[in-house]
Amino acid sequence: MAKMNLLQAINNALITEMERNEKVVVFGEDVGHFGGVFRATSNLQEKFGKDRCFNSPLTEQGIIGFANGLAAQGSFPVAEIQFADYIFPAFDQIVNETAKWRYRSGGQFSCGSLTIRTPYGGGIHGGLYHSQSPEAYFAHTPGLKIVVPRNPYQAKGLLLASMRDDNPVLFMEPKRLYRAAVSDVPEEDYTLPLGKADVVEEGSDITLVAWGAQVEVVQQAAAMAREDGVSCEVIDLRSILPWDAQRISESVMKTGRLLINHEAPQTGGFASEIAATIQDKCFLYLEAPIARVCGLDTPYPLAHEKEYMPDHLKTYEAIKRTMNY
């Protein structure tokens, strides 16, 4: 075990996989010698050479198009998009190519070996172009997997699993936690399962679902509710696509209540999908409407960032409303 922050855990996972599989190639804007603007790829070029870790020209559509071809050829690209806010020039390559390659070729070709890493989320005074959480756009894309870690331990295990999974994975890193989250991380190789949620705290009165940096926010709210005698079950969804509907259903059948929290705007956010599925699977078990605590339906603000965020207080209030319904 070693103490690592989230960036170090990601760096460690990349080194582990590059050592294990010589077909892993890491690239993106500034990821070479400099080690990325957040330093997630520090020392990779020194260790593995310029052929396996390099700077790309400044073109997101180029990065992902190149990665798609490299994956189809049989290599294992790990492509970095510097900020999730800047992923959209690559939207066509991801949605129409990465995700559909296997299907359109009848399984002859695929981009299954591709992993796209990108920092997402707010709380860093980044305003509308350095704070977005675009997971829902991609969750509407059959063929992709979407994974979000909440801490360094999860990050290493989930990233290793993503790089080895035979499907393209969009791996979204909560940048607010890059240096803030520190935990014990095994130095050896390990993976955590994709498509499986993780119960962070067990409880009996209400199920709280979140992912990434918002998990600790709902935990804070759960602690406040506990003072009121409310027992919360906190679940980290971990995988947005495919997501663990079974685990959430089991929990809601036990608690009878569900609250979902995410930073992205409410309308069309992934909470909507969870709510629709859970009311279908657990209708007769529900004691209150499913609550959503999300970002507002506005672009991500700067001066009013605090007001916009689905923070612990808004979550706590929603827990109370749901309990008192």
């Binding site: 400099f34 603007v37 390099f54 400044l58 800047y86 172009y129 603000p301 009013h304």
Partner: protein
């Protein structure tokens, strides 16, 4: 089909002649040497004393502003800053060659163009402190200026998006007979984006009076130009797209001025785009989030400090007998004081009203945002200590 793309213009050959790179040699226009003396054979553009001193003062002002705001960021007064040190001549002199009704669509390192247009110290500060006096309503990170009155389009962080937009804007200007052009600034890194290629091609095909002004400053954050492209810079691409092109010394204000002035005339007269590649060097870090010691040497930076564009132009102004030492010193002192005072004032001004969280998403606020705002206000009232910027107004 016109002559430009018709096969009849293509000559034939029987030899297998694969064209090698480097066949097109695009020289760099330079009028001043590094000591600010006119080069042999060079003809200085017609520049009045007023214009010349305004260019010089703008460059000096921006260097001061950059220094002060980097310090303010280090003190935690603003969250972010991005300087243009070393590139002052490229943006100031190009802006000086335009008319005030010409549109400026910038990337994010063109504060000098905005200052030349007359943006005040107070206006710079209101944006950087995201306060309620910023016409952009404090919605973007520091340095994302925008001012409709000065024909300066509000900056967007995503790189290169302004390039095809500038083509469209210029097309509209032409269509409406505005007798104006659009200048579009970007760096050599942004020229790798798909939007660059789309924007140049559309401008060429649709005959848009747009000046594409590339600041080739050697670095895109840490990525040096040699890892950004393999061809002859950005200028060679203009030729590939059928666009009139010139390469200039971006640290030579006179060269930049005359190139932009002529580009503007051509864009208007011939109704076509012109590409200017200004060769310069980003002496500044990419931003306050960046540390260049991780990717380039002090020696390299020192070499470029000697090519300082401000001193070079200043020497020329002195040579013309237009420089008033005392007046200049007074201007610098006053600018420094103004900046310090404006920081103190702007940081005390409150942010916009909470209603501005939902305004401007659409032309009018739709029902669901009204509902979310009402809900939010009730929440803030309940926990006023946690939302100090807005709790006073929702009491």
């Amino acid at each position: 089909m016109n002559d430009r793309n018709h096969l009849s213009k293509v000559s034939s050959t029987t030899s297998v002649n694969i064209i090698e790179d480097g066949i097109v040699d695009i020289p760099m226009l330079q009028l001043l040497n590094e000591d600010g003396e006119l080069l042999k054979g060079a003809v200085a553009p017609e520049l009045s004393q007023d214009q010349a001193t305004r260019i010089l003062k703008t460059m000096e002002y921006i260097r001061l502003l950059d220094e002060r705001m980097i310090a303010a960021q280090r003190q935690g007064r603003i969250s972010f800053y991005l300087a243009c040190t070393g590139e002052e001549a490229a943006t100031t002199a190009s802006a000086a060659a335009l008319f005030e009704h010409d549109m400026i669509m910038s990337q994010y390192r063109e504060q000098a163009a905005l200052a030349y247009r007359g943006y005040t110290t107070e206006q710079f500060m209101n944006q950087m402190f995201s306060n309620r006096l910023d016409p952009n309503k404090g919605r973007q990170m520091p340095i994302h200026y925008g001012d409709k009155a000065l024909n300066f389009m509000t900056i967007s962080s995503p790189l290169g998006t302004q390039i095809p937009q500038a083509s469209g804007y210029a097309y509209g200007q032409k269509l409406q007979g505005n007798d104006a052009v659009t200048i579009c600034y970007f760096g050599e890194g942004a020229a790798s984006e798909g939007d660059f290629h789309a924007g140049l091609n559309m401008a060429a095909v649709l005959n848009c009076p747009v000046i594409f002004f590339c600041r080739n400053n050697g670095y895109a954050i840490s990525t040096p130009a040699e890892e950004q492209f393999a061809g002859d810079g950005i200028a060679s691409r203009g030729i590939g797209y059928g666009i009139k092109t010139i390469r200039v010394d971006g640290n030579d204000a006179l060269a930049v001025f005359i190139a932009t002035q002529q580009a503007r005339e051509i864009a208007l007269k011939d109704k076509c785009p012109v590409l200017i590649e200004a060769m310069t060097y980003r002496l500044a870090a990419h931003s306050t989030s960046d540390d260049p010691t991780g990717y380039r040497s002090k020696e390299e930076e020192a070499k470029w400090r000697l090519k300082d564009p401000i001193n070079r132009f200043k020497q020329w102004v002195i040579g013309k007998g237009w420089f008033d030492e005392a007046e200049h010193e007074a201007y610098i002192t006053k600018s420094r004081e103004d900046i310090l005072a404006a920081v103190k004032t702007a940081e005390k001004v409150a942010v916009c009203d909470i209603d501005d969280l939902v305004n401007d998403v659409y032309d009018t606020v739709p029902w669901h945002l009204e509902e979310q705002l009402t809900h939010l206000k009730t929440h803030i009232k309940k926990y006023p200590d946690n939302y100090p910027k807005t709790s006073a107004e929702v009491k």
